[in-house]
Every structure is written in C-alpha cells, then in structure tokens.
Symmetry: C2
Subunit: 333 residues, 2 copies
C-alpha cells in the first residue's frame, strides 16, 4: 500500500510516499481502509523533531475516516464495509479525568492515517456521523476531540456564557468556536488576519478583533461584558491578558503552547479566584460526546482539500499557519 512516511527529521519536505506492506489486524484490532485524512500541527512538529519519542521511519497522520476492511479476533458489532471515523487517542484508560501514562497518539509512535490502510484498536473505531461526508469526518478527530474537552469537560462552558478564542484559524480554535455556538454561548475571536476574522464571522463569531490593528484589545474587551472562559494555546503573555479580561471566578483552558513557558501576574489571578486548567487530547467519553455534536448537522471548517499525492504541499501549508480550519488529504489511492 501507499503511505506518507517520515524517514528523517528536517521539516515537512522530508515526507515521502512509500510502498509498504499492508498491515493486518491482530486480536482486538480493526483494519480501516482510509478514504480521507487530515493534518494537525502535531504532524509538522514531528517532521521538525519537536515531539517526544519519535521513532523513524513511520507513517504520520492522526486524523482519518474510511471503511472497515477487516477485523481481528474478538471484535464484535463491527461490519466490514461500514463507514467509520478513528479516535486517535490510543489507550486513554479508565479515568475520564486523565490519561494513562502509557497512552499514545495515532501517527507516532504507532503508524498513522496517511496511508491506504491503518490498524487501530477496536475501541478507537466509531461510526461516522451521518450528516458528515468522508472528508468532513476525516477533519474532526484530533482537533475536535481536543476542542470538545477544552470547551466542555475542562472549560465547562454553558449556554449564555461568553468565551474568548484568541488566534482563530487553527484547527482546535475553530472547533471551539463551532462548539460554543452550538450550545448557545457568545464568542469573541482574535486574529492578525482580517480574512480569518471574516471567516470566523460566517461561523457565528459575535465579536472579532484584529490584534495587529488594536494592540490594546485586551483593555477594550473589558467594555464587552463579562468573559467567562478563555481557550488558548499560545503561551507567553497571552495568559496574563486572558486573566486581565476574565470575570472574577472565570476559567482559562490551555491545550498546548507554541512557546515553552507562560508568565502571569499573581495578584489578579488569586484575587479574582481564576482557574487555569491544562488539557490534552480527550477521553473516549469526550470523543463520543464530540461525535454527537456532529450528528446534529454541525459541519467542521475545512480550509483546503489536497490529493494524497500532494501530501508534502499540504504539510507545508500547515507549517505556515495560514489556514482557516482543517487541511484534508483526499483521493487516498
């Protein structure tokens, strides 16, 4: 089968399309014929060596949807030919609050979805939400799971509350916007790009702010009414700004960081009884809850669809952070 593989650290241009043996499902596993896959920032970080426990060569890709091709022993209630979407969180474990220390993410160290076939544990295979196309289903797994947990399980966002989503455009932030609108929350998004803000408005963003045009946006926000939740992954001083705009008792959820450290002023933090909550990926309960949202007709934001052979170009677009929504690989041979 064809697979998009990384042989050497050095950036997205090091990805190659190889011909390798089609894997076989063992006991408790399912072989999925991939019809569409999608990129996450994680894939780019791996090509750049910015990820723990990299083993090479390996097929990348955490997001995928397709049809069941074969099942291993002890796998019930799944039919060959069924359309499915894959939960990329492998081995979360029994505690909904936190994953097991040996949990991993599909696509490193385990071979991932940028291939004709992938083998995954039975419990990671879910029926595709009916309203979604295969491309749409492939766009949701990792970022949708992360955003669902950040917004609801960790962020506890309620209808009528207001959420601030800094830096709209990336996969997770776009899903946070969708989920917040889905439950009837008010949304404030920021970006340095008017084009991305315009797209956010079409997805229902209530207030849009270009942070290049208004560097003191966090001060202006105090006039926009109480903010209950901030969902962020930028690190640096964004956390201090977030704490400065939150209502007393408000929450910040952080699901990643493009900078290694974050600094914040202590006084407004403890004086206002703020919570800062870390999160990463999500539990099986989170994944199932996320799929239920998409059963209602909510659609993921797709930036661009590339053919399987254009995987390197797709990864390079991902690396440039110019996308709004998900970058999908389709036409898997």
């Amino acid at each position: 089968m064809k697979a998009v593989r990384l042989h050497e650290i050095g950036g997205p241009q090091n990805l190659r399309i190889d011909s390798i043996d089609t894997p076989e499902p063992r006991t408790g596993e399912i072989l999925v014929r991939i019809r569409a896959a999608a990129f996450n920032r994680r894939d780019v970080y791996i090509t750049q060596g910015l990820y723990p426990r990299i083993e090479l060569p390996r097929t990348l890709g955490s997001d995928g949807a397709g049809v069941v091709a074969a099942v291993g022993e002890d796998v019930a209630n799944v039919n060959v030919g069924e359309e499915v979407v894959i939960d990329p969180m492998i081995g979360w474990g029994d505690d909904p609050q936190v994953w097991r220390s040996d949990a991993t993410i599909l696509g490193m160290p385990r071979d991932g979805t940028f291939a004709e076939y992938v083998v995954v544990p039975r419990e990671n295979v879910y029926r595709k939400p009916k309203p979604l196309s295969i491309n749409e289903a492939a766009a949701i797994p990792l970022a949708g799971l992360t955003a669902y947990r950040a917004t609801f399980t960790r962020g506890e966002l309620q209808a009528g509350e207001t959420v601030l989503i800094p830096g709209i455009g990336g996969g997770v932030q776009t899903f946070v916007l969708l989920f917040a609108k889905y439950i009837g929350a008010r949304t404030i998004v920021t970006s340095g790009s008017d084009e991305k803000l315009e797209r956010a408005r079409t997805l229902g963003a209530d207030i849009t702010i270009n942070y290049n045009a208004t560097p003191d946006w966090h001060k202006d926000l105090r006039k926009a009414g109480p903010i209950d939740l901030v969902v962020d992954s930028s690190g640096g001083d964004t956390l201090s700004k977030a704490i400065g705009v939150l209502r007393p008792g408000g929450r910040v959820v952080i699901y990643g960081g493009t900078r290694p450290e974050s600094t914040f002023k202590l006084f407004p933090f403890f004086w206002n009884h703020i919570d800062i909550r870390g999160t990463s990926m999500g539990s099986p309960q989170d994944f199932a809850g996320m799929l239920r949202v998409f059963e209602t007709g909510v659609k993921p934001a797709i930036d661009r669809v590339y053919a399987f052979d254009e995987a390197v170009a797709a990864a390079e677009r991902m690396a440039q952070s110019e996308q709004f929504g998900k970058i999908v690989l389709d036409g898997v041979p």
Copy 2:
C-alpha cells in the same frame, strides 16, 4: 478606647496606640469587645504601603475574638456577653464561588480588631468554638478561612490524598497542615528551617524537607509517591516545581504571592491535565465549615502571645517571617 492605628506608611514601627472614641453599632451591626487579636501578613503589607485602597489613619487588624458588647437594630439571636469570633470577610455576597467586587477585609479600609472594640456586620459574628480559648479563637479567622477554602473548597483535598505544603511556618500554611491531617490526608512540608520542620512534625507532617539542605528536593519528591495537591503562595518558580511533582490530573491552589509574577513550563502543565486555581479569603460557607473543624478539638498553632502594648514588637516579628503559626495580641485593656 485604645486602638493600634497606622497614621503613615513606613513599616510596622509606624503603628501607634491611640485613644479614640468607642464606635457604636448601627442597624444590622454588632459591637464586639475584643479580648484577643492576631496578626496576618496583610497587616505588615499595609504598614509598608503594599496594599490597594489604603486610607489613613486607620485601626488595623483582621483577626479578633471577644464578647458581644452591644447590638444595633434588627439584630436577633445574639446575646450581649456571648463569646464570639469574627469573620473578617466583609460583604462576600451570595455566590460561594467568588466574592462581590465591593467586598472588603476587616482592618482596611474598615477599622479593625487591634482595639478594645470593633463594629462589624451581624453576619460576620459567629459563636466561638467551645474547645478554643479566646486566644486560640483570635488566631484562626483570616488564615484559617483562607486555608480552609484553599484546602477543601478550591483544593478538593480528600482523605488518603497527599498534599505538598511548601514553606511551612506562616499562618495559612500551618492551617493547611492542620486541616489536611484532620481529614486524613498525607502531608509533605518544606522549609529552610529545621526548627520549623520539627514543629511541623509535632503537628503531624508526614514528610519534612529542608530546601536549603536539598536544593533538588522537587526531584527527590518524585520517589515519595503521587502528590495530588500543592497549596502555595510563593510565586516565582515554585509553581513550575509544583507542576513537576504533581501526579497527572493534580491541582495547585495559589492563595497569594510574595513575588508579583509566576512562570511555568507549559508542556508538563497541559500534558498532565493540571489545574492551577486561584483563591483569596473565603465565603461565609467556608468560614462556617472552618469553625466546625475547630469544634472537634483541633487547635491552631500559636507562635507567641504579645500583650496589647507590645503591638509594634509583634508586628515586627511578623515582618521577619520567623514565626511558626500565629502571633497573638492578648491582654487588650
């Protein structure tokens, strides 16, 4: 009446014992004859000008216990002569999660407990827990309230869990140790003083660490089993160390900060689903819960008892951070 008042910013030595008019309770207020009071770091910060909204001259003091001397109109169920302890949190409001924006703390801007008499709202007066002496009752209000909320309401400490209490000796940290032992949690305390560690052991500390003798104490702690909660007020890089020793899914509660900012590494924070929770003072529910602990016979740690006339010396000891437990003012004239 006699009162310990601050006329000018400049440190504890600026406190003076004045003779001023005895206040009178208005509608909904109670006049309490103070029998004992106690110091908090807040009192020292105020003398140094390190506190918002300072109005001078003012009688300092947040902690006090005594007897009801007179009641204003519309005050029921309180008898003159009854022994009481005062909740220094004025006007918390109806939301147990967070205080009202106009809430204040007794002792600034409102005249406080370092006096023969103090007037407080009716809802701030509670019956003294029976097992406590007046001096012991005076030692618990502000630090006990802060510690109770940090440990239970915000920290959610459970029996059988392990809590790390860095920098034992100050009022709040000592109460956290008492409360943790009270519910049957395992406790780890740190200090730069072997004498304070020895006193902590007499209060039930299970593991004691001198951070001057073992600068890499946070690395050694990883061998001590999972740590569920850290309660801290030091800021700086203690937060990063705390995150490094917590079990996945663990909590840090911060109730103050001796440094203005805190910095932490993002990756271990979000990867391990950590919570960082800010807190300050406590709700009426927290105060009532705290008193219930002392009804069972738990005793606060008292560092030293000073006579009312020695208030300046007492404040200077507080400023030096050499105490273990509370510094009490007794013999109020």
